[in-house]
């Protein structure tokens, strides 16, 4: 049996190529029964009986004592937490299979043209071998919130910090008693008085330990001269001493702090403090108030909340794509190997570019395989459980909920409600029924041929 033929067994059935066979010779019935008995008994007790039981049980209440009709089904579609599960399962089915198939198609077409295509396929297919538990643990680590732990946020932070300069002194604040800097909203601080040319402004800050300053800070220097100028420094001396609000020898400069001059609520000039803490504003700032904008003190960027309520489902779908793209790729690559190269070459001779060849010839020829992959993935995704259960942290589990997880939670994870659990099981079964019928129809057709 070729891989391609077997591949079709996934969503829809392959072609059993043999014609109707008679037994080699008339076999006695009891021989056939003997060969079939173990399998049929097990199938009956472990698969067929549970289907009937679930349908019956779904019509009874939590502990099975009272008949409730279709109430359990009604509950599923009215209770807000199960409704989230229904909605998320719909999102999964709509998004994940299409995404995986598209990626698989792209990878399969591309790897055909590179020499190390086999190695690439091996790498992408490998996650298929591991458990969803292991994949879940792998991605819990990827999605860890702390950028010093989770790779995703480490990258996000690196990108963010490249484009947005991070604040240098997240915890700094003015010395309330010794300066006239007052909080002015949005994390910024503004002087109550105004600045005059020739009278250097003193902007003392506290709240950071001198040994926690980034880099090797210089000692602060009291500004002097005729311009509009001043000093931003850490008004704190290790070991005590010094006068509050005065630049004492040994006190450290705060470099790179943004200082704005404000007149009537409008910023007229701005400057940054130098290595010695001194800033110089243009003459136009004369008579304005000085403001240290909030960007100087903003908390550091600590990445994206991947597993928070809004992003948890997309994040888990991402891990699913990682696991299953290899499956789609390998199936589609097998289909691609059966595509007649002459057709593609003929189109190229006729002047079609690569995109047209791909769009108009390759994809239509692959359509049957693509459908099989899509359907298989849909069936698979409807029942998704492990990844959601492992990756979603407790606080966002409700937001990531899916039907299979809800079934488990209602019935086993402390819920104890077998009625609703059975109803969800029946719904899952109903969802795969169309595929079951397609399978059977294909098989019947093959028989009639």
């Amino acid at each position: 049996m070729t891989t391609a033929a077997k591949a079709e067994g996934a969503g829809a059935l392959p072609t059993p190529s043999a014609k109707p066979r008679k037994s080699v010779m008339g076999t006695r019935l009891w021989v056939a029964v003997l060969f079939l008995l173990p399998a049929l008994i097990l199938l009956g007790a472990l698969v067929v009986y549970p289907i009937g039981y679930s349908i019956w049980r779904s019509l009874y209440d939590a502990d099975g004592s009272g008949f409730v009709g279709l109430d359990n089904y009604g509950d599923i579609f009215s209770n807000s937490s199960t409704l989230t599960a229904v909605r998320n399962t719909a999102i999964w089915v709509a998004v994940a299979p299409a995404l995986v198939t598209a990626l698989g198609l792209i990878f399969a077409v591309m790897t055909e043209r590179v020499r190390w295509g086999t190695a690439f396929k091996l790498i992408v297919f490998m996650p298929m071998a591991i458990s969803m538990l292991a994949a879940g643990i792998i991605f819990r680590l990827v999605y860890e919130q702390d950028p010093s732990q989770g790779a995703a946020n480490a990258v996000a932070k690196a990108v963010h910090d490249t484009f947005v300069s991070s604040s240098v002194y997240p915890k700094a604040r003015p010395n309330a008693t010794a300066s006239d800097l007052k909080a002015s909203g949005g994390g910024s601080f503004t002087t109550t008085g105004t600045v005059r040319a020739g009278t250097p402004a003193l902007l003392p800050l506290v709240g950071i330990a001198p040994n926690k300053l980034p880099g090797t800070p210089e000692n602060a220097r009291a500004a002097s001269g005729a311009g509009v100028t001043g000093t931003v420094w850490l008004d704190f001396k290790l070991g005590g001493g010094g006068t509050k609000g005065q630049v004492d020898p040994g006190e450290k400069a705060l470099k790179g702090v943004k200082v704005e001059a404000v007149k009537g609520g409008k910023v007229v000039a701005s400057a940054k403090s130098g290595a010695d803490g001194v800033f110089t504003l243009p003459a136009s700032a004369d008579g304005g108030q000085l403001r240290l904008p909030g960007s100087n003190f903003a908390a550091p960027y600590d990445g994206i909340d991947w597993l928070g309520p809004t992003l948890v489902t997309p994040a888990i779908i991402g891990s699913y794509v990682w696991m299953w793209a290899g499956f789609a790729m390998v199936l589609i690559a097998a289909g691609l190997a059966g595509v007649d190269r002459n057709l593609l070459e003929a189109a190229r001779v006729d002047g079609a570019n690569e995109w047209q060849v791909f769009r108009r010839i390759t994809v239509p020829l692959l359509a049957p395989v693509l459908v099989v992959v899509l359907v298989t993935l849909m069936i698979n995704v409807m029942k998704i459980f492990d990844l959601v259960y492992i990756i979603a942290p407790q606080p966002s589990q409700d937001d990531a909920n899916v039907l299979a997880l809800q079934l488990f939670l209602s019935s086993f994870g402390g819920g104890g409600n077998y009625g609703v659990g059975s109803a969800i099981g029946v719904i899952l079964l109903l969802l795969v029924l169309p595929v079951m019928f397609v399978n059977l129809r294909r098989l019947r057709k093959e028989r009639e041929r």
């Binding site: 049996m1 173990p38 399998a39 698969v47 819990r140 010093s148 790779a151 659990g421 059975s422 019947r444």
Partner: protein, 293 residues
């Protein structure tokens, strides 16, 4: 074909060739990035599993690039000294091996009957088996926990094994019946004329000839059961739980348990990955055929 090829290639303009060369370069870079994207998550956990717990807590795994001396097998040592974990690992084996062997045996027997034995309603019975291919395991969780409770095997390894056998059989029968049906009739007839019984025929002709399909099925079923968490989560207890369930219980406090989870996940991955690299062909065909589950 090749002659035509060169003519066609020769006619393509210089600009077109430069453009396609550039496109090829972009494609290569893209594929390399994708490959990295696929490797990095696993690599990160692998590195974490070889770091000291204090190092894990204080910095990301990528720090080993600047401080390779951080690497240590301490976490593995601690983990393998925990009785609960080694016990769970044994349970995984005790669940997986019988569940695989039984599915292969019963599946092959039924597959042979459906392919080569004559009995009334054969096609209808086979249709029923095919219908069961797509039944989700979730449907059976509640009914079987009730049934197993009544007969006293709930929480027992036997229950977990039985569940996997039941849900492994439809695919096994389907796959093997289709494969056995391809065996040339003459081979079977010759053996029968020599006076071989059905059992002998099955053991000495059908099974050896069906080896490739049996290998695919066996590998697929083995990995399916080995990697299962849901069934074991419901049907096993603290005595009989496999490694996946034992590890799952540590996930709640992910940050503080990473020194258990990282090496634990890798121990659970070693066998599947070894199977993957040793039997790539069979594995690929098995997974492709069996993804329906």
């Amino acid at each position: 074909m090749t002659a035509l090829d060169t003519i066609v290639r020769g006619k393509r303009s210089f600009a077109a060739r430069v453009a396609s060369g550039a496109a090829g370069g972009v494609m290569r870079v893209f594929l390399i990035l994708v490959a990295l994207f696929w490797l990095v998550p696993t690599f990160g956990l692998l590195v974490s599993s070889f770091r000291d717990p204090t190092d894990i807590a204080s910095s990301g795994w990528w720090k080993v690039f600047t401080a390779p001396s951080q690497l240590t097998a301490k976490s593995y040592q601690t983990l393998l000294e925990k009785d609960a974990i080694t016990h769970a690992l044994f349970n995984t084996v005790w669940i997986t091996v019988p569940a695989t062997l039984l599915v292969v045996l019963f599946g092959a027997m039924a597959g042979y009957a459906f392919a080569w034995l004559d009995f009334k309603g054969r096609d209808w019975w086979f249709l029923l088996v095919v219908a069961l291919l797509v039944v989700p395991v979730q449907v059976a969780l509640i009914p079987l926990s009730d049934l197993f409770g009544k007969i006293g095997i709930f929480g027992d390894i036997i229950g977990v094994v039985l569940f996997h056998v039941g849900f492994g059989l439809p695919f096994a029968i389907f796959l093997l019946r289709n494969f056995f049906a391809e065996i040339p009739r003459e081979l079977l007839e010759a053996a029968r004329l020599d006076g071989a019984s059905e059992t002998r025929l099955f053991l000495t002709v059908v099974l050896p000839l069906g080896a490739p399909a049996i290998a695919s099925l066996g590998i697929f079923q083995f990995l399916w059961v080995w990697n299962d968490m849901l069934v074991a989560l419901v049907f096993s207890n603290s005595e009989s739980q496999p490694l996946t369930v034992a590890l799952q219980q540590q996930v709640r406090q992910f940050g503080s348990n990473i020194e258990i989870l990282a090496p634990g996940a890798f121990i659970s991955m070693v066998i599947p990955l070894a199977v993957f690299f040793a039997f790539q062909r069979q594995f690929v065909s098995g997974v492709m055929a069996g993804a329906v589950k």
